[in-house]
């Protein structure tokens, strides 16, 4: 990555060095200017010569400065963007399990805050190191050229600037960390309080909560004040060191001027160089501190890159057969667990769904229904030799081919904050307008979309239109339909709709479903009762299988569930006594 922009960096560094050299020329010219006035006596052409040279040097310096700023800071910004893109691309290929145990906030902070620390180290760090090297050697040699003894005395105090920046900088960093920690404590307190506000109000504990908050806030105030104290010592302290040096120069230099061992111009130039030294000395102390932070940030970024990608993304060149997938699904004695130490999520599952058939899976939450289809999609990696599509082990089907073949509507609908069009076409970008509208029609979302002023260009999400739960599910359904996949999986997709609406959607879908393999997952009997085969799952196992009537006649778990659901429905359908007033 650095190699990509090495020309930028090299040009920037060269410009920076030239800028610094030009900057050092200016005090020298001032010296010439002053001496020209004092020394000569009488109007001389040099009176205008030096001012003009100063302005010329400054113009050249400005040009160079523009150049290095664009190059060096541009370099670090470009690196930041590329690295962030690379990390994001890597995230996209990580196994889903990774996201279950990583906090979103943590990942986001690594891709933003840590990136920023790293970039600052690159931009500011390289600037400071070069600046320091050039200015210190340059200024020092010029100062020595003016007067070596004075240089020695004036430098006595200056290293303390670096030391104090280093010393205080470290403490300031620790204190800032402390303050940050306390701030998150304060945030947590507020978050807890608001989440538990019912309890707080129910027990009339508002006053105590306020007192608790006040205590924490006061502690935060104290910690901040400590930090502020460190800051308010550091800056004045650096001024003191610089000031002492200036006083030494004034005293010793002034004496030399008196004795005629030094011209007034030299004296002014010397002061100028001394002032130039201050900034690199501060920067060098700062960079040492920054380095530690930048390195820590970088290691957190690299930590992400070190996580191996999901198996499906690893196999690079699997042969991709040309004939389309028919949609025979077969599972042979599948056992699966989410990892060592986890209880088995699926045990001894075997089933066969011929192409075009519909299979209903029913069972309580946590019975393994969703796990089963996740394995089919390779969202989690199934063991080899267990899950087959068209008699091919899914672990040997290239991921793009597999995913193009399956239309999946999951339990928790996720729509992007983008237009409805983009959301539906998410599944199949090449679809034409006709296909887009057809899929919306089948999913019965078309009338709703027609109702929006911007139709398919309506933006969804926080800053756009908020869809109802049912509309979201239909949009997600359209997203799966537009792919025209040979296999359709509806994973409890209509749980937030009432039974009538669900029946209605399923009826509409019937024609679409008849031409492809469909897996219907639900906890409602009404969803699956028309399926060609129904599986009842409990605790990772299939406990009953058959078609609706067979299962009812068996008078087992399926039958009992059916009875309960009937009863619930009856209760729900009981009308109110009185109409709305």
């Amino acid at each position: 990555m650095i190699v990509r922009y090495r020309l930028l960096l090299i040009a920037g560094v060269v410009a920076l060095i030239a800028t610094d050299l030009m900057g050092m020329a200016i005090p020298w010219l001032i010296k010439g200017g002053i001496d020209a006035i004092i020394g000569k006596g009488g109007v001389s052409p040099s009176l205008i010569k030096y001012p003009l040279m100063i302005v010329g040097a400054a113009l050249l310096q400005a040009l160079l400065r523009y150049f290095w700023r664009m190059n060096i800071f541009g370099f670090s910004r470009r690196i930041e963007r590329d690295l962030r893109g690379e990390v994001f691309a890597h995230l996209l290929k990580l196994p889903l399990a990774y996201f279950q145990h990583m906090k979103t906030g943590d990942l986001m902070s690594r891709l933003t805050n840590d990136m920023q620390s790293m970039r600052e180290l690159m931009g500011f760090g390289s600037l400071a190191i070069i600046d320091t090297a050039v200015i210190i050697t340059g200024s020092l040699s010029l100062m020595i050229a003016i007067d070596p003894v004075l240089t020695f005395w004036s430098l006595l105090c200056l290293p303390f600037i670096s030391f104090s920046v280093r010393f205080f900088g470290n403490r300031i960093f620790q204190k800032s960390w402390d303050v940050q920690q306390h701030l998150s404590l304060l945030s947590t307190y507020v978050q807890e309080n608001l989440s538990g506000i019912r309890v707080v109000q129910a027990y009339a504990q508002e006053e105590n909560q306020i007192r608790g908050f006040q205590r924490l806030s006061a502690e935060y105030r104290r910690k901040n004040l400590w930090l502020a104290t460190l800051w308010s010592v550091l800056w004045p302290l650096m001024r003191i060191f610089a000031g002492i040096s200036a006083a030494i120069v004034l005293w010793l230099g002034g004496r030399k001027v008196m004795q005629g061992a030094m011209t007034l111009g030299e004296f002014a130039a010397f002061n100028g160089y001394l002032a130039m030294l201050t900034w690199p000395l501060i920067a060098v102390g700062h960079v040492v501190n920054q380095y530690q932070r930048g390195a820590a940030a970088l290691s957190r970024i690299i930590e992400i890159l070190d996580v191996p990608v999901a198996p499906g993304y690893r196999e690079s060149e699997l042969p991709t057969p040309t004939e389309p997938i028919r949609g025979d699904v077969e599972i042979r004695n599948l056992n699966f667990s989410y990892g060592d130490g986890h209880p088995p999520a699926l045990r001894g599952i075997s089933l066969k769904i011929p192409a075009g058939a519909t299979c209903g899976i029913i069972g309580e939450t946590g019975s393994g229904k969703s796990t089963l289809v996740h394995l089919l999609l390779r969202l989690f990696e199934p063991p080899p030799g267990a899950v087959f599509i068209d008699s091919t082990d899914v672990t040997t089907i290239p991921l793009p081919r597999l995913k193009a073949a399956i239309g999946f509507v999951s339990q928790d609908i996720f729509l992007f904050s983008d237009t409805i069009r983009e959301n539906i076409l998410f599944g199949y970008r090449d679809a034409d307008r006709e296909a887009l509208e057809e899929s919306a029609r089948i999913a019965e979302i078309l009338p709703s979309i027609r109702g929006f002023t911007r139709q398919f260009d309506t933006i969804l999400g926080e800053r756009g239109v908020r869809l109802s739960g049912g509309q979201k599910q239909r949009t997600a359904l359209a997203r799966a339909i537009v792919k025209n996949p040979p296999v359709l999986i509806l994973d409890d997709a209509f749980s937030s709709l009432d039974t009538e609406t669900e029946d209605d959607i399923l009826n509409h879908l019937r024609e679409f479903m008849s031409k492809r393999t469909t897996i219907l997952i639900s906890h409602r009997i009404s969803t699956v009762k028309g399926a060609d085969m129904i599986l009842y799952m409990r605790k990772g196992e299939i406990i009953e299988r058959g078609i609706h009537e067979e299962l009812l006649n068996r008078r087992g778990a399926y039958y009992r569930l059916h009875q309960r659901q009937q009863l619930t429905r009856e209760v729900d359908e009981m009308p109110r006594r009185e109409g709305p007033r």
Binding site: G42, N193, N271
Partner: protein, 603 residues
């Protein structure tokens, strides 16, 4: 950082808004003496800054040129003096400013927090926790920057610029006028730059917001992305914003890279001008050379404040936007207020009466429709019904979490709107289904931080709730931390702990929403025992999920679609063969055969 952006977070304030500033300053009023002191220090510090070059001039013109070593010594001492005084003044100014700022922010933060405590549930339902947290914490932080860098920094910069101009005019007004001739142009240029820098700042904030939103969405929607095989597209989408972000910032770099050198050129131009014009004056014996040296030093100090102006401008702006949001929050009125003169019933008995109570969360969608019932003091009532029927709303209305629309609720004969809210709630012990634990130790979770509950009362309550023996065998006993850092309590233990909480507060009326989660048989027995203790000598309203509970209460109210459907004892209602008998079959019958402790209705 895990925040989605709310539209209102994107407001960018004006640079200065007198109305807002006036309100902000009110928080500083208690500390005005300190502020005056810090302002004084600021002026004095600027003074020491101005003295440096002036002393150099004295040294050159009066002593060095005259060869007066003692005089030079004096000037050097004076110079050192200004350096040390400067240290003292700068320290004093920074510290006092920070101190008052922190104090004022502490006051403001506490006020916001206290304000939130008084809001009713409808308000808290409407405003996501994350947004309110941002107001209480982050917006106050932004405002704090206004104090520590913004206002004071701007004042200090103004002092410096005007001070230097003044000092130069005093030293030699002719030379000063020539030197300062370019200054209006610089001011003009810096305004131009400031506007650009502000635009870049705004845009970069917006793009960063988009970047964060996309990042959050992509991580949250990773399952969808991967199941549709849309990694490429997600990457393109992200990289598009990522590139936009880079480009906005590169534009910012360009403005800086243009403006900073221009400032330097101006500084050099001014120095050149000083040398040329000053040189002519010196040659004409109208000026002493020290003045030129001093001028050059002044010029170098004058341009730093101008360079930093954009940064301070942004701070001011962000602070104005934050304060606007904070004040908007503080201006929301408390919806459920205490009456001016609360009524107190003659005796606390614990009788509850609902008279034709209507309640809606959304206008036009009543969740309670004319509920009427009466609970005598000491009576135990179970509320039964399908999910969403209105049981929880009855409880919420009784606790006055929401204001009812019509009808009235009486506790001991006094309308709850005439009670003092806190007094009322102290008589009502609410035990919720999902027990909310605060971080802190076990004792703190029983008392909720109420200092009036003694150590003995905590122990007694825990014993009666049958959780004492468990707590006492923990390494730190009642001081054991719960939540993240400490023990993880099981569902059953959490319930017992919430019973202990209610017992410690000893309310006249107990309101219990029984947990539906199943627990093991041993814990179930403990809960049954503890429940008996809890119900003793109290009025009780219970959203019942346990068979044993509905069998033991005096009366059962069946709530259906916001109405009171039927009421009576378990046997009476079963005999009626109505809604209750079906609900019983659905929710409780399985427990007859020793099934799980409790059952959730299957929807």
């Amino acid at each position: 950082m895990s925040e989605t952006m709310h539209p209102e977070d994107e407001i960018f304030g004006k640079f200065y808004d007198a109305r807002l500033m006036g309100r902000i300053l009110r928080y500083l009023k208690p500390y005005w003496k300190l502020l005056v002191l810090s302002l004084l220090f600021l002026v004095l510090y600027t003074g020491t800054l101005l003295l440096g070059p002036y002393l150099t001039k004295i040294a050159i013109d009066q002593y060095i040129s005259a060869g007066n070593l003692d005089g030079l010594k004096l000037v050097v001492m004076a110079y050192l003096g200004t350096v040390f005084l400067g240290f003292f003044f700068l320290f004093g100014e920074t510290y006092i400013t920070e101190y008052t700022g922190q104090r004022a922010m502490h006051d403001l933060r506490t006020q916001i927090f206290a304000h939130l405590q008084k809001q009713d549930m409808a308000y808290l339902d409407r405003n996501p926790v994350g947004r309110l947290m941002t107001r209480t914490i982050n917006d106050v932080e932004t405002l704090n920057e206004l104090f520590s860098t913004g206002v004071v920094g701007l004042l200090g910069d103004a002092f410096t610029v005007f001070g230097i101009a003044g000092a130069m005019l005093l030293l030699d007004w002719k030379l000063a006028l020539v030197t300062l001739a370019g200054f209006p142009l610089i001011i003009y240029l810096s305004r131009f730059y400031r506007r650009r820098a502000r635009d870049v700042y705004r845009e970069s904030r917006l793009v960063l917001g988009r970047l964060n939103a996309n990042l959050q969405e992509s991580i949250a929607g990773m399952g969808t992305i991967q199941s549709f095989g849309q990694e490429e597209k997600a990457y393109e989408r992200f990289q598009g914003i990522n590139t936009d972000y880079r480009d906005v910032l590169l534009r910012g770099i360009r403005y800086n890279a243009l403006f900073f050198p221009v400032i330097e050129v101006f500084s050099a131009l001014t120095i050149g001008l000083t040398l040329w014009f000053g040189g002519r004056l010196i040659l004409g014996h109208a000026l002493l050379p020290g003045v030129i040296v001093a001028f050059i030093q002044y010029i170098q100090r004058m341009y730093t404040p101008i360079r930093d102006i954009a940064e301070k401008y942004n701070i001011m702006q962000a602070a104005m936007a934050s304060s606007e949001r904070i004040f908007a929050l503080l201006d929301t009125e408390e919806k459920i207020r205490n009456p001016l003169v609360p009524k107190v019933p003659r005796q606390f008995q614990g009788a509850v009466e609902f008279k034709d109570v209507w309640l809606s969360y959304n206008p036009g969608e009543p969740v309670l429709r004319g509920i009427t019932f009466r609970v005598e003091a000491g009576e135990k009532i179970a509320l039964v019904g399908a999910t969403g029927g209105g049981k929880t709303s009855i409880i919420a209305a009784l606790c006055r979490f929401y204001e009812i629309e019509r009808g009235s609720i009486l506790v001991d004969g006094v309308d709850i709107r005439e009670w003092n809210k806190q007094d009322l709630r102290r008589r009502l012990g609410l035990v919720l289904q999902d027990v909310f634990l605060f971080s802190g130790d076990i004792a703190g979770n029983i008392t909720l931080g109420d200092p009036r509950i003694s150590e003995e009362q905590i122990h007694a309550a825990s014993r009666r709730a049958h959780i004492a023996s468990y707590i006492e065998q923990l390494p730190a006993g009642y001081r054991e931390e719960v939540q993240e850092r400490g023990v993880t309590l099981s569902q059953g233990q959490r319930q017992l702990l919430s019973f202990a909480r209610a017992l410690a507060f000893d309310p006249r009326i107990l309101i219990l929403d029984e947990a539906t989660s199943s627990v093991d048989t041993r814990t179930e027995t403990l809960i049954q025992e503890a429940l008996k203790e809890l119900l003793k000598d109290r009025t009780a309203l219970i959203i019942a999920h346990r068979l044993s509970t509905i069998k033991n209460v005096n009366r059962i109210l069946v709530i259906h679609k916001g109405e009171l459907w039927e009421e009576g004892s378990h046997q009476e209602l079963l005999a009626r063969q109505g809604l209750y008998s079906r609900l019983y079959e659905l929710q409780y019958q399985a427990q007859e055969h020793g099934g799980n402790g409790a059952h959730s209705p299957v929807g």
